[in-house]
Symmetry: D3
Subunit: 132 residues, 6 copies
């Protein structure tokens, strides 16, 4: 299996609901350094997993819908805790949608899986990986 | 599959038995930067893979049983080479035990797998991954 | 000149005032991974730049006064843009104060300088360095 | 499953054919920081995944056949785009061959899988993983 | 003294002249991960060392003049070994020129110094620092 | 001022004397990832700060005198706490001596300063910098 990874980041505010979160129930924020890892069984005819330029652009475009925002005000996330692992899944869903709409080029239809990892500090990260 | 990772470290002395180890047969030591990666299929009701606070505390408590020690004097490791990969497995076993005894909270019963990685330098690391 | 560095992190929300900040004028947030670098000309009688345990505790205690908070609500920062470079200086001032009050031990009076660096992402950081 | 990783690097020139590559069609180059990750189900009798000394030597020897070269002049790669993902597979094949020829020691016959990752910058990497 | 750093990268081919370079006399290449560190004594009226958006854009624009190129064909570098340390100085000169022409905004006239660091692998980097 | 850095590592056992060290008074160990940073005002006639091959070899040779050892048994360190900052200075002294004996080549006589940094974990490092 081949994998190709591109990295970007976004910066948001949010708060959590539930005693388990302790002080993180207060409004605070995070920088998320995001790795999008695309997987496929065989390379395409150009010798690629995916067009790295398109992959970077689409990742950046998706992050721009959340970047420099308070996620507590995001209608899509109402009633949800926007934990690192939850956001990893949300970005996975948005990238899968972009792939299906052809935004990463026609060869991206040959992708087998996608993993999205969010690094929230030098000691913690979370990811979601699923098939395509 | 979701994953969540917490990082900590410990510093030990040890020596190895066997010609394959060359100069590492002498008493020396290592810093191990440890990643504990918890995996589960679906998030719990708080939107979490695991309570990151409890996970960090338990990892730290387990590392404390080896930290600042000469592993050659550790009764549990008698007759064993405490290689990086062996220690990764040992920490996996201890974290699995903590999960089963409820130390990472009741929701941790939904975890699917655990990977423990020990970084021993900027050029080498080892890990053990197993189901839960 | 000797230097010794300890690392920790904190996670905050804030917004900026001024057109130069573009989308960062909105309420957003950041993870700051903090390096506190202590410098001195000669080691103390224990062979240390500073007691690393006390240095880590004091850094953590100072970060706790901002961690998981919205800095826009912090009285001390009223009317100020809490940029990365501004916060580096603020943490420098608080650490200098802790050193002067003896919180890092008596030997810390021999420190010559302090640098505080805040990493806000994988591509940007800021620092403040000053004498002691 | 156990894993053990060793890291090295090589520096090459190359160019790509195909409009998808944009400016990378021109002769340019890259530093590839290479991670070779060896996997096995059970440790060998020394408590090892693989002899880390032999693994490092063989990885270095294989990289030396490409290091400080223009890959466009490499007969083996004629007519192929030497993309990061393609090179990851090539290094996988060469390491598999070395394992089969006994270059990583007799215990290496117990290895289960190998993953080769090439980091081409702070924001992009590619890998190939296959069984042994 | 305050510092602010932005990071980017470029990928080039080149060769060196002189026996000291050994195999690097052959045409090869490198990825350079570039840190541009801007320093000033006091923050500007917005609480900034420099407008990070403009700084990133100018660094990217300067790197674009070398990115995906064979530096052996660059007229400006004729007869020079484009070593990592030489290139760090070249990028310093180009950034100083951009600052003087106002490309980083009027407040950038208050900058005191600039350091440019080129990371060529996980084990080697070079930098040039000079006043402004 | 130009700087050039090479990185290597060594792994040792040791113990400390003095209550300030707490549990580190016990025999334990560390991996030290070492950065040797060479500085000079002007590049040599090859466009170099120092011959990177010779610098790497000498650093490795110096580390080999301590690597895989118990520093408590090292006659040179008798009665001294081999703290990270102390060892940074020791490596500085040994590298300065190597430079003076011509081991880094004749052009190394033009070096202006040397900084040696020892990374002992992902959260702590120490360094010594001095003139040449």
């Amino acid at each position: 299996m081949y994998s190709l990874n591109v990295r970007d980041h976004f910066m948001i505010a949010h708060s959590f609901t539930g005693e388990v979160f302790g002080p993180a129930q207060r409004l605070h924020g995070a920088t998320y350094v995001v790795d999008a890892t695309f997987r496929r069984q065989e390379l395409d005819s150009d010798g690629l997993v995916v067009d790295i330029g398109l992959a970077s652009q689409q990742l950046s475009a998706i992050l721009a819908t959340m970047n420099y925002q308070n996620l507590d005000d995001h209608p899509e996330f109402e009633g949800r805790n926007t934990t690192t692992e939850f956001l990893a899944h949300q970005l996975y869903l948005r990238l899968v949608d972009a792939i299906r709409r052809g935004k990463l080029g026609p060869a991206a239809s040959g992708l087998a899986a996608l993993c999205v990892t969010l690094h929230e500090s030098h000691v913690a990260w979370a990811s979601y990986e699923g098939p395509l």
